[in-house]
């Protein structure tokens, strides 16, 4: 049973997380002006169709607005935190070129992203166990080298609660 829509792969989490444009924290608003007809806007249309969902998924706090058929020339406009505006002309560019350009001018570099990954990893200790939200393992029985879960492997008689008093009663 195939998914509905023209390119339903755009609606998969794997595709969305493949987007590599992560904006710098100073970018607040992104505005895309494009036309629904015409060769010049072709790249912009593909950009909106394929890449904007990826960008919005990776930058949930950036406001993205799309304007259709307002001006003859397609362009992107970014509004930064210090009041600066960045205008990007996308006439006659393919959607790949547009994403590359945007990544170069306003995206976080790979080193920065890796550094942030490492910072996030430092906060959580992988050896601890607890709720799934904060740790990798939930119970001590999941850790290798510890006593396995009695739900799968019955405990030896000496470790069971009813063994010691039974021995005492016998003796």
């Amino acid at each position: 049973m195939p998914m509905k829509g023209r390119f339903p792969v755009r609606r998969t989490l794997q595709y969305l997380s493949q987007g590599d444009v992560v904006f710098k924290s100073s970018v607040k608003v992104m505005t895309v002006n494009y036309n629904t007809a015409g060769e010049l806007s072709e790249g912009a249309r593909k950009f909106v169709f394929f890449n904007v969902p990826q960008i919005q998924y990776k930058n949930p706090w950036v406001q993205i607005m799309l304007f259709r058929n307002m001006t003859p020339s397609p362009f992107l406009r970014f509004y930064l935190d210090n009041g600066e505006q960045v205008l990007v002309d996308v006439e006659d560019k393919t959607n790949k070129e547009i994403t590359e350009h945007v990544k170069k001018i306003l995206g976080k570099s790979k080193e920065m992203l890796e550094r942030e990954e490492r910072e996030r990893k430092k906060l959580s200790h992988p050896a601890t166990f607890g709720p799934k939200k904060y740790h990798l393992r939930e119970c001590i029985c999941e850790i290798e080298g510890q006593v396995p879960c009695p739900a799968f492997v019955p405990l030896p008689k000496e470790m069971r609660g009813k063994y010691k008093p039974a021995v005492k009663n016998e003796a």
């Binding site: 015409g38 949930p60 406001q63 001006t71 003859p72």
Partner: protein, 137 residues
């Protein structure tokens, strides 16, 4: 550093003016793309903000950029008008700087200069057909 700006989370927003009936205040509708968790598709979610517009220069339909005020001006007004991005009916293409409407420029609108010979003959023929002749009866 960022304490001076920000009684609000949204520091800069772009929206469309939907009402100007209040004095010196514009009602602005802001749309954000929100992911539907089941369909995994982005839909526009609207929210209205009130913005302080001291010169009352906004008309319904303008696209405006709002800046967050350092502290709330009144119960609902937490932003002010920073700039009118596109004025309704008077859109200026930022790349060329020329006024435009839809997908065409409004600069050279004088028809008579751009008409070719064929156009003028065709138009005059059509005008002839439209002429009401009293001798038809």
């Amino acid at each position: 550093m960022s304490v001076p700006r920000g009684a609000v989370h949204a520091k800069w927003i772009v929206g469309k003016v939907i009402g100007t009936k209040m004095q010196k205040t514009a009602k602005v509708r802001v749309t954000r793309l929100v992911l539907d968790p089941y369909l995994l598709k982005f839909f526009n979610k609207r929210k209205t903000y009130f913005a302080h517009d001291p010169l009352q220069q906004c008309v319904v339909g303008d696209i405006v950029l709002l800046r967050a005020l350092p502290e709330r001006r009144s119960k609902h007004v937490k932003h002010e008008l920073a700039e009118i991005v596109f004025k309704v009916g008077n859109v200026i293409d930022p790349i060329t700087g020329k006024p435009c409407a839809g997908t065409r420029f409004l600069e050279n609108l004088s028809d008579s200069e751009n008409l070719t010979e064929a156009d003028t003959t065709y138009l005059s023929e059509k005008l002839q057909e439209l002429k009401v002749c009293s001798t038809d009866k």
